[in-house]
Every structure is written in C-alpha cells, then in structure tokens.
Subunit: 251 residues, 2 copies
C-alpha cells in the first residue's frame, strides 16, 4: 500500500522533519515517491520513480527547507500501473486558473469512469483516472474556484461513485486549502501554540517546534499513519472528508 503525507499551514513552513520520517518508510514503498509544494499560486513538484530512501531528489528535499503553506507527498508501492514516472503521485492539473495537486492511497477495482472532457490520464493508474474524473465533474459544477467548504460538499456528492470501486484515501490541494478523504487509514494533527517537542516514530530525530515557530503559527499534518511517537494524532473515520485551511480543519 502507498502512504500519504500532507501539510497545511497559515505561514510558509518547511516539511523537512515530517518528510524525513515519511521517507524512511519508503523501504517498504519502493516504487517511487513525489512531493509537491505550493508557493503562492505556483507549485513545485519533485518526483522520482526510485524509492525515496535512495533518491538524490529526496535527499535534496530533506536538506533544502522549502517553505510552503500546502504540501502533498506520496510514497508508492505499485499495485495498479507500472513503476514509471507518469504513474508517480502526486498528479497535477490546472482548473479555473489554479493548479490542483492530488495523491491517492488505496486500490480501485474495475474503475473506468467516463472521461469525455478536458482531463485525460497520462499514465495507467486507477488513481490518475479518479483524479481526472473528479476534476471533470468539479468543472461541471462550478464556474470558478468555489470556497473550500462548497468544494467539499461537491466532493462529498461525487465520492460514492469512486468509493464503490474500493479504497480512496486521498489528499487534494489548490494551494489555498487542503482536502483529505479517508476510506481506511488517515490521521492528522493540528499543531498550534504552545508548541512542544516531538520525536519521529521511524528515525531517531527529535524537534522542538517552539524553536521554529511563533505564537500565531498553525500547522496541520495529515498522514496515513502517525509520524511522531509522543503527540496525539486524530484518526479520520472511514468515509470522513476534511478541509484544512490556515493550519486547522474547518468545521
């Protein structure tokens, strides 16, 4: 199975700590990784068809603190679709003059949606098909970027057509908000003042967030499994869709 990692913050924050723990897990998830950083409306996406643990690109991401308010990362264990760059998450499309970044964990069986409009998959994964279908249907329902909760409502209406085919844990962002849906496994933590220390579950690495933040900072991290050992992560319920804006879930 693949693993998801995402971050949504109110001030540009680097993800080096979380990504380091996440990349360690790529020994079992050896079929590529990707990470996309929004910077304003722009997006920077690093992908590699080799595992993050060996990738010079993952090394760069660990060493070069890119500050972003919305990040989506993925490590892949191929199930549907060959190991190839075009099958590596996250996927990106433009809609309403914004980039949309998407990563998926889970398998969709016999999933062949009608893709009759401007979003066609380049690779051959179920994930990219589902993303293209969501973009196509969202484009039909809204004339421009809707507010985050409105988009969540539309997504909630669309999701049953996808989840009927299997597990659809995903993260989606347009650089303003981050949507996360859980079929089976997804956790989040919304860190805010007072910040404390945390220790990675997967590596001997500890951070004191208080040294890297100011009192107003809010940082939400979403991951398939909790990344730190000494913090309380919240599990999503199966079927739950959450929207994160400025480092906190919208209610």
């Amino acid at each position: 199975m693949c693993q998801l990692l995402a971050m949504n913050c109110n001030v540009p924050t680097d993800i080096v700590f979380s990504f380091t723990g996440f990349a360690t897990r790529s020994c079992e998830h050896a079929d590529g990784f990707g990470i996309a950083f929004f910077e304003g409306r722009g997006v920077r996406c690093f992908v590699d068809a080799q595992r993050a643990a060996d990738s010079p690109i993952a090394e760069l991401v660990k060493r070069y603190p890119i500050r972003s308010t919305n990040v989506i990362a993925h490590i892949r264990k191929a199930t549907v679709g060959r190991v190839a760059l075009e099958n590596t998450h996250p996927f990106i499309r433009e809609l309403w003059g914004r980039y949309w970044v998407f990563a998926h964990n889970g398998n969709l069986t016999d999933y062949r949606p009608q893709l009759h409009a401007g979003f066609q998959p380049v690779g051959d994964t179920d994930s990219e098909r589902a993303f293209c279908w969501l973009m196509q249907e969202l484009a039909k329902q809204h004339a421009r970027v809707p507010r985050p909760l409105e988009l969540a409502e539309t997504l909630a209406e669309l999701l049953p057509a996808v989840t009927a085919h299997g597990n659809f844990n995903f993260t989606l962002s347009n650089g303003e908000a981050l949507w996360a849906h859980c079929s089976t496994h997804l956790h989040y933590i919304a860190r805010r003042h007072p910040f404390s220390t945390a220790r990675l579950q997967d590596e001997d690495m500890r951070i004191n967030f208080a040294q890297h933040t100011t009192a107003g900072d809010r940082v939400a991290v979403i991951a398939t499994e909790p990344l730190t050992a000494d913090e309380t992560w919240t599990a999503f319920s199966p079927g739950e869709l959450k929207v994160f804006v400025d480092g906190a879930p919208l209610v």
Copy 2:
C-alpha cells in the same frame, strides 16, 4: 531577455554539460529558471524563482545526470509578470492524455487572447497566456495527438495571431517530438557519429562526446545562443518553425 535551452535525442541522454553552460548565463537572467525532463510519458520539472547560479535545485540538476529524450529549460529575466514560481517557465498542461511542456523567450505586447476553454493561465505572464491559447486551439483542430509534422502545420497556421504581438521564440515538447519556433534568436546543433569534443562558451569545461555516446546516438540541442565555442551551430531564420524527432530536424 530570457534564454531557451532544449534537447531532443533518440536515446535518453543527460543534459549536464549543456545545462552547466546555460546556467552560467543566469547571472544576467536572475529571475528564476526551470527545466523539464520527459521520461517516457512522464515529466519531471524543476523550477526555482531564484537564479540558477545560486539555486540548490540547479546544483542538483548539474550533479544528478537525469537521462531524457526531450528536455526543455529556460532562464528568466522578468519583463511581464512578477518574479514568482507561477511565472517561471516551463509551463505544463495535459492534452490528449500527454503532457505538453512549453517555454518562451520574447515579449508579447497587448496580448489578451480569448481563453474560453479548458486552459487558463495560473500566473500573469504573456508566455503562459500564449501557451494556453495554443493548447486551446490545437485541441479544437485535432481529436488526438497528431503526427509531429501535422502538429507543426497547425502551429504554423496559429502562429501569426501570436507573433502579431511581438517576439515569440519558443520550444514545445510532448515527449515524442520537440517543436521550436524562432522570431529573433534561436540556434541548434544536431550531433551524430562521429562525435567530437566541444568546449563551453561560458565556462572552462570541455567534453568528448565520443566517450559518452555510441555510433547510433543522435542528439539535437536548441539554444537561444550557441553554447559551445568549437562547433558549428545553425541559426534559425526569423519565422522558422522546426520539428525535432529522434535527435534530428524533420524536413
């Protein structure tokens, strides 16, 4: 003015040598750089809003030999549009289930094409507007990816509507072919057996291509200005559009 660099080959080739010379020029072109590598149908794009000469991402590209048959790179001197990641070339869109990568050099004045379909600019450059308009119009004229020369014919019909607004030197690739258009400055070289040595114009760096190639290799490099001092580059004529496939221009 910005500078363009592109490569089209018949076997995956690394662009480290050419990119090193090209990146040196970024001292005068300090407003960002980008480089996109096709690997099969997939594409890997590195962008940075700082100049290539200082960028850790450019350092990675120089040190990590990514092999690709189609590469498009750009260093930016901002004229239209702020210095921001979303204004950094190359731009990427999906059409007919393929990624299309585009970079532009030149200025388009009062250029506001009707963008009424599925391709909207994310940033605010004339370049991205022109790319979106080309994608929109190509999508109207072909139902699927046309052969390279057919696409060139359609492009040739569309170009006057853009070039009426100014200089439109550009490179475009879908990973199968590379199209290059010259308004003012563009050069190319198509290297093939027997390979010889070359020396960069901008750095004290020399390469013996014979040591890095086999007899069947063909590599075309396209650049705003010739990158090497001791090879014969061919200048495009103003208004000339060329298609490169498997490392050589199609006639």
